[in-house]
């Protein structure tokens, strides 16, 4: 039998000492059993970004470009498209081009050149007569319809501002032609920055050797009655949970002219923050909302993402979600199947036979018509992360799950042709993670050993009966190509 002891008793004292343990009844003399039930599990699956990037060695260290600089850049190359954007018709006519007459069109860009063929949204073909001229922010092109039909004209609906026109091959007469121009895409540099984290664990007195009445178990299978290993497990778990949350939600805070307005009151130093996953993906428009997930929506998103993948390396596109999203995914496939009358026989829902039947086989993957396999991966971050906890407390719950657990983030973890992962942790070179011990009279716990060089007896930095374990960490998340990731947010608000 296992007993639950003080499962939600938080202690926010600055220093942990023996009194803390007594107060929380962890060193009481009578116990039914020494094992502890972790009500929410060990919670080691709640940090998918850290797990995936660190697990793949996906960490890049960057040297600051200059003093106090935390921005970094990476090279990006846009896609060559044969598209030009129309602004309006430039000739006063309700039937532009009628009778083979030339007319003007205003474009927002200078992609069309002399003699190019233009394709209107409804399919009319025109030839650009001369090199278009610049008019403020617009380009004026004189064109003639490429048809012998003298009754043909371009409908005004084709000139609605913002519509995409196609451009194509320059056509010329057999002789006496002049040259034209071409378009090109040049690489540019995208920018993000990393921030810094600071964590401290403070102890006082003889905590290093404090033994408790209960036995703690750890991810590596070991157990201990010493308090400090458990203290450090919680410390590290909390740190990673907070970093994970920051990697998702952080927002870039350097203005265009390089200023950071968030300043530490005590030191006057700026506090840099980089764009996290949400901001990066949403910044390029890869964001949508849903209430009832449908296969059609998944299909359109996946098609859109793969349309932006140009690398030859195999795609590793994973859909992260929580328990709510898992159910939505299954429901979407089931609804689609039912709508198409692909009724699944009960037999395929039954997992095991014997005396008892078990109903419960669910969809976890979906293959698009283009052969793309979309795999859903449940992560505790969406079920128990900070925002999921807030949702539960604030009543934002739908069918038993927090709204947040219905959110879906499709992330492209693929390798790129140029090498390296598309999504990486980025940190300052030499300051990826610095761990030091601020040593006083308190004995240093063995679990602090990796930082302090074992159970050392060193020079005290303070004469007080205290010690602390100090971490400075730099970090941020970088998505080199954000167009191949997508955030689908559950909108369950009434």
């Amino acid at each position: 039998m296992k007993i639950i002891k003080q499962a939600v008793n938080y202690d926010t004292d600055y220093y942990v000492d023996e009194n803390t343990l007594y107060r929380n009844e962890l060193v009481s003399p009578i116990e039914i059993t020494q094992a502890i039930t972790y009500l929410w599990g060990m919670q080691s699956k709640a940090t998918p970004l850290l797990n995936y990037t660190l697990g793949q060695n996906g960490v890049t260290s960057k040297k600051p470009k200059m003093l106090n600089e935390t921005t970094y850049t990476w090279k990006v190359m846009g896609r060559m498209e044969l598209i030009t954007t129309v602004d309006s018709v430039g000739t006063s006519s309700t039937k532009p081009g009628l009778g083979g007459t030339s007319f003007d069109i205003l474009f927002r860009d200078g992609m069309a050149h002399a003699y190019y063929t233009l394709y209107s949204p409804s399919g009319y073909k025109m030839r650009v007569n001369y090199e278009p001229s610049r008019e403020g922010q617009l380009w004026r092109a004189n064109v003639t319809l490429m048809t012998n039909d003298t009754t043909a004209y371009v409908p005004l609906g084709d000139f609605v501002s913002g519509l995409a026109w196609g451009y194509g091959v320059p056509t010329i007469a057999r002789s006496k032609s002049d040259g034209t121009a071409s378009n090109r895409v040049t690489p540019g540099e995208a920018t993000n920055q990393f921030g810094f984290y600071r964590f401290s664990d403070n102890i006082a007195g003889n905590m290093a050797n404090q033994v408790t009445e209960v036995e703690f178990s750890f991810d590596n299978g070991t157990t201990s009655k010493l308090w400090m290993p458990e203290e450090m497990r919680q410390f590290e778990w909390q740190n990673s949970q907070m970093i994970e949350h920051d990697l998702w939600t952080s927002e870039y805070n350097r203005t265009e002219d390089g200023r950071i307005t968030l300043v530490d009151d005590e030191t006057g130093e700026p506090i840099p923050k980089g764009a996290g996953v949400y901001e990066t993906v949403k910044s390029v428009g890869n964001y949508d909302t849903y209430y009832n997930l449908t296969v059609e929506k998944m299909d359109s998103i996946v098609s859109y993402l793969y349309d932006h993948r140009t690398d030859d390396t195999p795609g590793e596109i994973i859909l992260y979600t929580g328990a709510g999203g898992m159910r939505m995914f299954n429901d979407a496939v089931m609804r689609e199947a039912n709508a198409n009358q692909f009724f699944t026989p009960l037999g395929s829902e039954v997992i095991s036979g014997g005396d008892h039947l078990k109903y419960g086989a669910y969809f976890r993957q979906y293959k698009t018509v283009s052969d793309v396999l979309l795999t859903v991966q449940e992560t505790d971050y969406f079920n128990h992360g900070t925002e999921a906890q807030q949702d539960r407390r604030n009543g934002r719950v739908y069918k038993g799950h927090p709204f947040y657990s219905y959110n879906m983030m499709i992330l492209d973890h693929s390798m790129s042709d140029a090498g390296g992962r598309n999504i990486e942790l980025v940190a300052e070179e030499g300051r990826e993670k610095l761990v030091k011990i601020y040593e006083g009279m308190s004995q240093i716990p063995a679990v602090w050993g990796p930082a302090a060089g074992g159970n050392m007896i060193g020079h005290a930095a303070t004469k007080k009966d205290i010690a602390s374990y100090e971490i400075i960490q730099s970090g941020g998340i970088n998505i080199k190509n954000p167009y191949t990731s997508f955030f689908l947010e559950f909108d369950g608000v009434n």
Partner: protein, 328 residues
């Protein structure tokens, strides 16, 4: 058949984050998507008449068929408006007096309004007298998908229904815009501007009127002894009121009690009356428990009431005495 066009633009809120600004050239923003929300889906799906008249054509099935509910859920789930800066939506209606799908609603309208005798008169009547969200009962949306996008946008938490509300929530990503509303807004603003100029001119035509206005406004925003302000300072002060509180200025220019309000303000300054801090409540200066009124209008009523004439005269006397003492 009479078509009444109504173009509405669904526009992307042009508020860039610092990350978008720094990367605008190399990581350009793609089209924004307006997808499903619980609120918009629930409100529209619960409108049975709207669903019956609008959705069969969009779903490709007849209303009430066995798969109606699931198809409807799927349709709303997949519905996404792609907006590249602006999406123009045709939200007008096409009116036909003999519309078989809407006959019962049209007949009911005609029964109570004998002037409706043609497609044109039906259109005129509905456009002038029926709220927009009920017009679908009498006319077919010209573009059903645009109309549906518009109705979704009206109920969606990510859409401001007009430009003024665009900063009301950080969730807002779009706003609805119509040229007609813009013109009406410009008209309203111009009318207010004209009224301000008229009011300002009227108050500045006389030194006494101008001083009375500043005295009266001093009850809201104390300026001390207004009589000590120069003509230039009074002019700048009235400008400031025109900018910060135009409605007050416009009302003041036609306020018959302006002089009396100025008098109350003077009494407050001299301590004959007492204004409770941070409020408009005014009490007797020598007995602060004796409230004359909780706002200036109530105080004016008190002053005009003949039952209070003795007190009012006493205040007047006190004020004159104080003035004569100051002169000595």
């Amino acid at each position: 058949m009479k078509e009444v066009n109504r173009e509405v633009e669904l526009r992307v809120r042009q508020k860039e984050t610092e990350f978008q600004k720094v990367n605008s050239s190399h990581l350009p923003r793609g089209p924004e998507r307006l997808g499903e929300s619980k609120r918009s889906t629930s409100i529209l799906k619960s409108n049975g008449k709207l669903m019956e008249l609008l959705m069969p054509e969009l779903l490709g099935i007849t209303y009430g068929s066995p798969s109606w509910e699931s198809r409807l859920t799927q349709y709303f789930g997949a519905l996404t408006a792609y907006v590249d800066n602006t999406k123009k939506l045709e939200t007008g209606h096409r009116y036909t007096l003999n519309d078989p799908e809407r006959q019962k609603y049209i007949d009911e309208l005609v029964k109570n309004n004998k002037s409706i005798t043609s497609d044109e008169t039906l259109a005129d009547y509905v456009e002038s007298n029926i709220n927009y969200d009920q017009r679908f009962l009498y006319g077919t949306p010209i573009n059903k998908l645009d109309y549906l996008h518009y109705r979704v946008a009206l109920e969606h938490g990510h859409v401001a229904n007009n430009v003024e509300d665009v900063d009301s929530s950080n969730k807002i990503r779009f706003y609805l815009y119509t040229e007609q509303e813009r013109k009406e807004k410009v008209k309203r603003e111009a009318e207010v501007k004209r009224a301000i100029i008229k009011a300002q001119s009227k108050l500045m035509a006389s030194d006494e009127l101008l001083a009375n206005a500043i005295w009266a406004y001093s009850l809201i925003n104390p300026k001390g002894n207004v009589d000590l302000l120069s003509e230039d300072e009074l002019t700048l002060e009235i400008e400031r009121i025109a900018k910060n509180d135009p409605k007050w200025l416009i009302d003041a220019s036609t306020d018959k009690d302006l002089e009396l309000k100025a008098k109350v303000s003077k009494y407050v300054l001299k301590g004959i009356l007492y204004q409770l801090p941070g409020s408009e409540t005014i009490a007797d200066g020598s007995n602060k428990d004796e409230i004359l009124g909780n706002d200036i209008d109530a105080v004016i009523t008190f002053f005009k009431n003949s039952d209070n004439s003795q007190k009012v005269n006493a205040y007047e006397m006190k004020y004159k005495n104080l003035l004569s003492k100051n002169k000595k």
